[in-house]
Amino acid sequence: MKKETNIFLLLAGLFLAFYFLPITNSQFIEALLSGFALLHEYAREHVLTCLLPAFFIAGAIAVFIKKDFVLKYLGGQAKKYVSYPLASVSGSILAVCSCTILPLFAGIRKRGAGLGPAVTFLFSGPAINIAAIFLTISVLGIKIGLARICLAILLSIVVGISMQLIFREKIEEGKLFVEQSNQPTYSKAVVLLFMLVMVGVLVVNGLQINQAQKYVLMGLLIITTAVIALTKFQKATNKEWIKETWSFTKMLLPILFIGVFAAGFVMPFLPQEFIERIVGSNTIIGNIVASIFGAFMYFSTLTEIPILQALIAKGMSQGPALALLLAGPSLSLPNMLVVRRVLGNKKTAVYVLLVILYSSIAGLLFGGIIK
């Protein structure tokens, strides 16, 4: 019954939307065109050359890097100089589904390496997303892209350590259920080469050489990837790889398309004067406002990039842009409310404040450096 009600509401809603469509309003038409234009740009310039390889890489990471191996180093005996850096990069390895970030966080906190590394993981999980990093570089430029990944890793460690220092939680003893993986073991060298070749495709695409050379190089690298996969890996492994890649694609592309269209649609309405005034230059206020906005606003995976693209087009400066990029993906108001149920009000509030503080500082420094 509920399903039928939902279908009815959807159809009724669509009908009303189409009925009241302001089709003669020139601003609306402009917004529509802007949305489609941005979709066209992404389809032409980013989907095949950036997103597709990134999805294949993400799929490979999901298959080849064993979770239980990583979790071992996030356990109670882990040394701090191992657990913090590992927590900051293993977000995309451990939490392939976003609903698992919280149980993983709770596990690392209470039965593993403790509050600090758990918070590092909590922040970095959404922030260090392979597809998001490469798309950032492709759309927004290499400087802010590299700054994003380096500072996201650094920030997650700093926020984690800060939380640990402020609250000094103890770890409990407890059973940890870690599923043994039954993947065949491949030589690390082969897997590393495999990944690097795929990353190579992305890197070549970003180089400033002529198109023909680019395509030849990329073609060669793609063939190499396929050869490695077919000769060195078992069929089951390759099937698993394609399955994971497809699962990422299915999950992220639709959201991205919607986000890109929405960002393009909204762009003509964005108040340029207002944006320039508040975040148009690398001021302290500008960076703080950007991080607060990023912290509370919900960004679906990858959608922070077209939104930022629209804001930058309307006058946002690089410093506040980075602050938004750092605070945006990992936090949102709904996310804060859920984290609150595990961390409690005080720790959640401190976590949010630390993220805003450090993102603002990072943005300020970046904005100052690239001048």
């Binding site: 979770k67 979790l71 451990l94 939490a95 589904c97 976003s98 609903c99 698992t100 919280l102 149980p103 993983l104 709770a106 596990g107 690392i108 209470k110 039965r111 407890g174 059973k175 940890l176 259920f177 870690v178 599923e179 859920v338 149920r341 595990v342």
Partner: protein, 77 residues
């Protein structure tokens, strides 16, 4: 027999629930209840790090993946 699906409600967790219900139906088992635990605090009490997870009579059988109905049938027998 009490079967619990641990997961906060994303599509993966729903798939695990569907596979479980299918396994129960195919084996025609009686006296089986299937619960879906969504509360994050309760989930962590099982020591599970990766959702979705399957718990049968308070023993964790799988975590962080979605076993097919056939595999679940093996645990139910």
């Amino acid at each position: 027999m009490i079967i619990k699906i641990l997961g906060s409600g994303c599509p993966n967790c729903q798939r695990l629930e569907n596979n479980t219900k299918q396994a129960v139906k195919e084996l025609n088992k009686q006296d089986v209840t299937v619960e879906h635990v969504r509360d994050i605090v309760k989930i962590t009490e099982y020591g599970v790090m990766s959702t979705p997870a399957l718990v049968i009579d308070e023993t964790v059988k799988s975590s962080g993946r979605i076993p097919e109905a056939d595999e679940i049938k093996g645990w139910l027998a």
